[in-house]
């Protein structure tokens, strides 16, 4: 029987091959226009990379960050404008290269090729931290961020929750997962229940392990901080999108004497977690966590593909530095014009 993931991969390969033809057909069939909107995380992540490279390129040339050209509002210009965002073609190329790299490395992983991954101490410590809670007879607190389920960081947090729940199920350690959005509540309950079923501990599962505590950012924080000071969980794990409450949570956990592991992709919150937590997953490590903890070769292939593209970006930056230093960087920089 063909697995659904195989079908999905074949469909994507098909899309990569036939996709451009399909896009051209749509472009020629449509000519209405308007301003741009944000896309999904894959496309917008590619845009973020291109944007960062654009800013970097602008700075290397010692010029102001490239401002978007003034919009031509004449009727002729509006009619001539295509429905396809040609200004985002650089992001489209990055998406295709990235997708191809992930697929190739995933294929190699499926074929049994050895893939080396560096150790991530924060993830290595998860089992040890849950074990500590078990020995102390105290609960594990897991906060999957405070953002809605449409944030990829929240999805990463929910994915890691599944792994943590398997360990708490195995050791029969109490688990508490406060959430801020009902959609995250539904996803979190499903993931934790599934983890307990897989570990053969369905009876130990309590629906209220994952609970909605408040919709307001600081009401949520006050509730979780109160829980930490009253129940004194032995282990606090924060994985997902955090904002101003990051330090309030982490410092309270520190004061309560908990071992703390945090992970977020938001650079502005990382210093707070680094200062107050025992282990911190930075940026990409958060997204790598579920694959890393699963140890499944097929998932690890995705991480290697990501590393490969990162290497291409570093090479691109080095080439840019050399070209700009020699005074030939203008055309090269235009490749990374902000989208």
């Amino acid at each position: 029987m063909i697995k659904s993931s195989d079908m999905a991969r074949k469909a994507l390969l098909w899309a990569i091959v036939v996709g451009p033809l399909f896009l051209v057909t749509i472009v020629t069939a449509q000519d209405s226009i308007d301003t741009s909107i944000a896309g999904d995380s894959l496309a917008s992540a590619a845009a973020t990379v291109v944007d960062s490279l654009d800013s970097l390129a602008a700075e290397m040339a010692n010029v102001e960050d490239t401002a978007p050209p003034a919009e031509d509002t004449t009727e002729a210009a509006v009619v001539a404008e295509s429905s396809f965002r040609y200004d985002r073609i650089n992001a489209a190329i990055l998406v295709l290269v990235f997708s191809a790299a992930i697929l190739i490395f995933t294929r190699w992983a499926r074929q049994g090729k050895e893939l080396f991954l560096r150790k991530i101490p924060g993830l290595e410590a998860v089992e040890e931290a849950v074990g500590r809670a078990t020995e102390m007879g105290r609960p594990v607190l897991y906060v999957p961020g405070i953002a809605e389920l449409d944030e990829i960081e929240t999805i990463a947090g929910i994915s890691i929750l599944g792994r943590v729940a398997k360990i708490t199920a195995q050791y029969e350690t109490p688990l508490m997962v406060p959430v801020r959005y009902p959609l995250v509540l539904a996803a979190g309950q499903e993931v934790v229940e599934q983890a307990y079923i897989e570990m053969g501990k369905k009876d130990a599962y309590d629906k209220d392990m994952v609970r909605y505590v408040a919709g307001e950012q600081f009401a949520f924080t006050a509730n979780v901080n109160g829980y930490m000071m009253r129940e004194r969980p032995a282990t606090n794990i924060y994985m997902g999108a955090f904002f101003a409450e990051s330090l309030l949570l982490a410092e309270t956990g520190n004061a309560a004497g908990s071992i703390q592991i945090a992970g977020t992709a938001r650079p502005e919150q990382l210093p707070f977690f680094i200062a107050a937590c025992d282990y911190t997953l930075m940026g990409e490590e958060l997204y790598a966590a579920s694959a890393y903890l699963s140890k499944e070769p097929i998932m690890l292939g995705g991480l290697k593909g990501q590393d490969f593209v990162k290497m291409l970006i570093v090479i691109g930056i080095v080439i840019g530095v050399i070209l700009v230093a020699l005074g030939y960087g203008d055309s090269y920089m235009q490749l990374f014009q902000s989208v």
Binding site: S4, S5, R9, L12, A15, L23, Q30, S32, D34, T35, I37, G39, D40, S41, L42, A43, A45, V49, S52, E59, S83, A92, S99, I102, L103, E148, D150, I152, I155, I160, G162, R163, P182, E190, V191, Q194, D208, Y212, E216, A219, T221, A222, G226, A244, L247, L248, E251, A265, P267, A275, A276, M282, G283, E284, Y287, S290, S294, M299, G302, L303
Partner: protein
């Protein structure tokens, strides 16, 4: 079927959103992203009831068993219903209902909810002080460098400190701006942002392709 259907939905919606990113709003394809986000809001609205049920069940169980801190749980329940019920009743019945100015909801929001949120946020200053004390202890060479640089940057960020730094020869604030904030600091931030963006893209792709199913509790 329980796994295949969500994977198929994830693939179709994921691909639709990727393609939508490259089209202008106002086109069939370009509007896909906007329309799917509207659907997410609608689904999210329905799930709000799940949240109310969860918070009521958890807190009511605590009150019934008189567990430690049950008074707070009772207060939570009372607060939810005192704030929610008058806000959903039609304002035509009484000026105290609804969410307009002068209503019970408005009064509670303005004079209780907002000040409490502001208080919680304000306590951040104390937490920053205690975290900074721990982070900036000069135990190693690296932490001593961090301490020195952080002290100078913090000084530079307040007017009196900037005036003090200007007393020294050379353009110290200019140096801090060019080499510390826009140099080392920005370079590290960009590295993290690019890595995080690639990580997000990689995870998105794994989800779209059905490789990553941990968000459904599988695998």
């Amino acid at each position: 079927m329980k796994t295949s259907f969500p994977v198929a939905v994830a693939f179709l919606t994921g691909m639709a959103l990727v393609v939508s990113f490259f089209f202008r709003e106002g086109t069939l394809v370009g509007d896909l992203s906007k329309n799917l986000k509207i659907w997410l809001t609608i689904v999210g609205g329905f799930t709000l009831l799940l949240g109310v049920v969860s918070i009521t069940r958890v807190n009511w169980a605590g009150v019934k068993r008189q567990k430690s801190g049950w008074g707070y749980k009772l207060l939570t329940l009372v607060s939810i219903f005192v704030m929610a019920i008058p806000s959903i009743l039609p304002a035509s019945w009484s000026p105290l209902f609804g969410r307009a100015e002068g209503s019970i909801y408005d009064w509670l929001f303005t004079y209780l909810d907002s000040p409490m949120m502001a208080t919680m946020f304000a306590t951040l200053a104390f937490y920053i002080a205690s975290a900074a004390y721990r982070a900036f202890r000069a135990r190693t060479v690296e932490s001593t460098i961090l301490l020195l640089v952080a002290t100078i940057v913090m000084l530079w960020r307040v007017p009196m400190g900037e005036a003090f730094l200007n007393l020294f020869p050379g353009d110290l604030p200019g140096f801090l701006n060019a080499f510390v904030m826009n140099g080392a600091n920005l370079a590290v931030q960009r590295g993290i942002i690019i890595g995080a963006a690639l990580g997000a893209a990689s995870m998105s792709l794994r989800i779209i392709l059905g490789i990553e199913r941990t968000y459904m509790g599988k695998g």
